[in-house]
């Protein structure tokens, strides 16, 4: 596997002034690092990768890395990525998005991208909160937990992102945490190789906002929590619903082979061109 210094040298933008904007203890760096390791393992040319994001802490990931990078508007990374992928189907298009970006303001785009089955890999960083704006509740903040816009506890029920994208038709769904870095790399690799719309949900921690207001302890303690609650799908399949309460099932949850959008569109072009040949000028 590539060493950390090689990784930094090969993939980071040296002309961009570091340090990055993320807080000490943030999980996003771990996720970005393992995305890069996955890409390196797959030996994909940097010129062939487009890395697209929306707004929020996760939205800042593309600027640091040496790909074709596109930092778009809040919630809209997927439709930008859809247009780009259709224009340049040869590109590997990766999207990084947070829980608020992907499932609140971008929720409509997310479900329709799943339904279309366009060959894009979406990494959803789920830290249960809007971090960049200072800790407001998001669509994944657990019921009863606190945020700076629900100090007495959240009365809304959270989305289960993996279940949501599965229901919407994603043909690959994987879930893991920022503690399980080898599984994270492995699932991202599988997601990139999958032909169709793939989602990788990564449970992570925001020690600065969600962790602080909910007394979850330090980043290390929050990582330990991820280790404790995670249960691999192979084990979870043998567990009762009661045993699974409060646990997070990880691993590749869905993997289906269904027609991909760009490939189907190519057949539309072929048919349309054949029909046009028969037409008088």
């Amino acid at each position: 596997m590539i060493s950390n210094s090689q990784l930094v040298n090969k993939y980071f933008r040296h002309s961009k002034k570091f340090p990055h904007i993320w807080c000490p203890g943030c999980g996003i760096g771990t996720i970005l690092g393992n995305m890069l390791r996955a890409i390196d393992d797959l030996a994909i040319d940097k010129n062939d990768i487009a890395f697209v994001s929306g707004i929020g802490c996760t939205g800042r990931a593309p600027v640091y890395v040496d790909f074709n990078t596109l930092h778009t508007t809040h919630g809209r990374a997927l439709p930008f990525a859809t247009g780009l992928k259709l224009a340049r189907p040869e590109l590997k298009v990766l999207v990084a998005t947070g829980d608020g970006d992907a499932t609140a303001i971008g929720g409509n785009h997310l479900i329709h991208a799943c339904r279309r089955n366009i060959d894009i890999t979406t990494i959803i960083v789920n830290n249960y909160i809007y971090g960049m704006t200072g800790g407001q509740y998001s669509p994944t903040t657990p019921h009863g937990d606190k945020a700076y816009t629900c100090k007495l506890g959240n009365i809304e029920r959270p989305f289960n992102i993996s279940a949501l994208v599965e229901a919407a038709g994603a043909t690959f769904v994987g879930r893991t945490t920022s503690y399980h870095v080898l599984q994270l790399q492995n699932i991202i690799k599988k997601a990139i190789l999958h032909k169709g719309f793939s989602v990788v949900e990564v449970i992570t921690h925001c020690p600065t906002t969600y962790g602080r207001i909910n007394h979850k302890g330090s980043a290390v303690e929050m990582l330990k929590w991820q280790k404790e609650v995670a249960v691999d799908k192979s084990r979870a399949d043998k567990m009762s619903p009661k045993e699974l309460e409060g646990r997070i099932v990880t691993g590749v949850l869905i993997e289906k082979d269904l027609p991909e959008f760009c490939e189907q569109y190519d057949t539309i072009i072929e048919q349309a061109q054949n029909q046009a040949k028969g037409k008088p000028e």
């Binding site: 600027v63 259709l86 340049r88």
Partner: protein
């Protein structure tokens, strides 16, 4: 499409679709909305025939996002919508202005605000086209006043967007969009196509937002080996976010300066019977049709009146009015809104001539007789 010039019966929206194809548009993303839907329907058929692509998105926010993405991939792109959809596009229109992505939005206007009077004509989106997205930004807005112009202006819109790396809006009213007329379109080989300037330096020397002598930076497509960053944050010449005041100034002011340089070329204005005119009608879109008819009647009555036809609304072609102000006593601005261009005319006039407005916001057009009556009243 016939290879030689020939007459055809065509609808305004159809002419837009033909213009888009003639200009080299190869990607369309849109969402159904009356009275613009014909453009999407036609291009969904015609684009794949030419190897182009069409996608129907989940909403207009996604539609403009998808054409920005495709434009970054190197395609010439266009979307079509009407008022409510145009409102939804404002967010990403601002993104395209700041990141300097070529694209065309066709807005076939209907009466607003809100759902308004669907399918009834209006010119109520003139100011929204100028200032609808937040923040200071330049914009190019063209407005055809005939079916044939819908074809030519769509081509010009694509060409301007490529040349200036800026979104261009084609504002049509429902009358022009749905009107059928005899048109005489040039063969494809005669249509001028402008392509964005691409970088020719090695990738390691490429600065994606460093303006060349023309004021516009060369634009690399994603996947062409020039790995760079595009962001809706204010950015430096490398494309990276910055909060440095001088870099922020260069970024925003640079957007304006490239359009200012092209001002004369971008401003499309026609003059009819203006040589000896003492009175003028300033009109655009379907109001040109009423104004022309009124002009004929007024000239027959011996009133020296001419027409200034605005093909470009933004940047506002102030010189077109300034040039004739010394000879003009009165100017009438008939519009299907509460007076959006009237205010611009007032601003340029600076108290020299008598300016009056004639407005309608009920879903019907202003008839020639009403213009005749108003001009006669002003002359008296």
């Amino acid at each position: 499409m016939s290879k030689k010039t020939s007459y055809q019966l065509m609808q305004g929206n159809e002419a837009v679709a033909e213009g888009a194809l003639a200009a080299g548009v190869s990607f369309f993303a849109g969402y159904p909305i009356t009275p613009s839907t014909e453009i999407a329907e036609i291009l969904s058929d015609r684009l794949p025939e030419t190897g182009g692509k069409f996608i129907q998105m989940e909403d207009e926010i996604g539609s403009i996002a998808a054409i920005i993405g495709a434009s970054i991939g190197g395609r010439k792109t266009l979307t079509a919508t009407s008022g409510p959809g145009f409102s939804l596009m404002q967010e990403n229109l601002g993104f395209a202005c700041l990141t300097e992505i070529p694209l065309v939005i066709v807005n076939v206007m209907r009466v607003g605000p809100s759902t308004g009077l669907p399918t009834s004509p209006s010119q109520g989106d003139v100011m929204q086209a100028r200032w609808g997205t937040h923040g200071d930004h330049p914009i190019i807005v063209l407005t055809p006043s005939s079916v044939e112009e819908a074809f030519h202006y769509t081509i010009k819109a694509v060409n301007f967007s490529e040349k200036y790396r800026n979104p261009v809006i084609v504002l049509m009213d429902e009358v022009i969009g749905h009107m059928r007329a005899r048109v005489n379109l040039p063969p494809r080989s005669m249509v001028e196509r402008v392509n964005r300037v691409q970088p020719n330096m090695p990738p390691e020397w490429y600065l994606p937002y460093e303006r060349s002598a023309t004021g516009v930076a060369p634009m690399a497509s994603f996947g062409d080996g020039y790995r760079y960053h595009i962001t809706g944050l204010v950015h430096d010449a490398k494309g990276f976010p910055t909060t440095n005041p001088s870099e922020a100034r260069d970024n925003i002011r640079g957007l304006f300066s490239k359009i200012e340089r092209g001002f004369r070329e971008i401003c499309l204005v026609d003059y009819e019977l203006m040589e000896d005119a003492e009175h003028a009608i300033i009109a655009y879109g379907c109001m040109v049709l009423s104004a022309r008819s009124a002009l004929e009647q007024l000239r027959k009555s011996g009133i020296k009146v001419g027409l200034i036809k605005l093909g470009t609304l933004w940047p506002f072609p102030r010189f077109a009015i300034e040039h004739y102000l010394p000879q003009l006593k009165t100017i009438l601005v008939p519009e299907l809104n509460m007076g959006q261009i009237y205010r611009e005319v007032l601003r340029v006039n600076a108290g020299k001539a008598v300016i009056e407005k004639l407005n309608r916001v009920n879903g019907t057009i202003i008839a020639p007789d009403e213009i005749v009556k108003t001009v006669k009243g002003m002359v008296r």
